[in-house]
Amino acid sequence: MGESMPADVEPRRPPLRQRETRPRRFLLLVARHAVLIGLALMFALPLLFMVLQSLMPISQAKTTAMWPSHFEWGNYREVFDRVPLATYFVNTLKVCALATIGTVVSCVPVAYAFSHLQWRGRTAVFVLVLSTMMLPYQVLFVSQYEIFTSLGWINSILPLTVPAFFADAFSIFLLRQFFLTLPPDVLAAARVDGAGEFGVLARVVVPMAKPGIMAVAIFQFLFSWSDFFGPNIYLADERSLTLAVGLVRLNTALAKTGESNLTMAASVAFVVPILFVFFFAQKVFIEGVTLTGTKG
């Protein structure tokens, strides 16, 4: 916990330095890295085991072996043969793309109204928006299901994408946080030049708030990619499933046979695109998570 102390950063901080002699400081450094490396292993090893298991030949997968005797890349082909993973991929991508577009298109104007415009009741309505963030999905789906059934949307991706076009609280909140960092003068100047609110939004706010919009888009993408509860309710037909549902069914089916190498191969295929997105957009991503925790 001592790392919350500032002493090591700036050389001119005296009190601690004087007390901590050189060997003691060295020991602390070693202890600190020992703890950090231990933690890092706990976080990283599961993923390593996932990859290793996915490459194990079946004869070995059922034993206690941890390292594959040879890398069985055929596992990946086999799992794609056994379940229509490619179809799941396409379905998942469709859901993600549409939900992401919907979220961005609907949340940007709303977040703008809550950040740079003054109107009566703004605070009250914003509190209402925030309070809906607390609502568990379980409270809503029982009744939403009937709406979607009556529209004939079951077994389609519509229940998973259409609501995204109606602005969710979390994305509004996050976008607003980004919008608030924009200098009001620039927006005011655009208004003086005769731009209407939609003009200011399209020509000034959106270009300046690109990192924020990216963050919201990435979060929605990851949410849709990972979501299990919704697809599990609305998709029943084998060909309509998303990867998350497909993976759970595979895991359930193969738990009996012990073919964990195939389950792990499917998991790797499911996780790698997300890790790719994450590493690609790390900075935007981390800034987004950090902003979630700060108050508006």
Binding site: L16, V35, P136, L140, S143, F166, A244, A255, I274, V289
Partner: protein, 290 residues
Amino acid sequence: MLALLSPWLIGFFVFILYPIANSLYWSFTVKRYGQPARWVGLGNYRLLLDNPDLALALKNTVYLALVGLPIRLLIAILCASLLARPRRGNGAYRLMFYVPSVVPAVASGALFFFLLKQGGPIASGLDLFGVEAPLWFRDPAWAKPALIMVGTWALGDVMLIFLAGIVDIPRSLYEAIELDGAGRWARFRHVTLPMISPVIFFTLLTGMIGVLQSFDQAFVFSQAVRKGRLTGEPDGSLLTYAMLQLRYFQDGRIGIASAMAWVMFLITLLITGAMLASRRRWVHTAAGDQ
């Protein structure tokens, strides 16, 4: 203004307000999809009240909230405070600690089902130390700890939020307390903790609501143990509140599923209200803060 707000307004009425009101009405009825609802007054609630499954689901969910959530938050604070000051290597550690939290819940569920299985990597690892691994998914006493383990593995997002909170603490506060000769623990206890108490408040509140919804990994585990009805195998130890509600939903008992939704709604309100009320007593507010 209305034009800008319209996406949210429409969504609020159609996808939030109407469903809440509708499920309130249904919760007083016997209802199946495609059939008219039949009024039964408090019947569903009474049925829930002496339903052993509901008691079990609540017990499991409370366990996750009182044991799992504090563990997750404590380790996240520990990780964040280890990494708060800019030092060589911290970027790499931060990345490694964070990555598990982007892994989808069902994937980490499948992963830990494999890691914890009999003869799996964790059992082999424990074996090295001469410790016999428990039967995580057979033994009702060990299934929830397994669930908590996966949740703790994915603490990266909470850690980042704490990290931001700690980095924001003015250095002068530490200097002041060091002049008084405070040690590490005192610095943490009297500066770091109070200064990040708003962040703790936020993560506790969102964490509680998250726990109330916990489903994905419990579902992955229990279905792998025994496929079929949502009973939360082994022996109902993984039956969460959300899982029980889904069971009633899938059985077509929409009235009871709606009553459970409303109870969940009320619990959420209660938790939020209680936490807001307790806020003044333990959450530090700086001048200018709201």
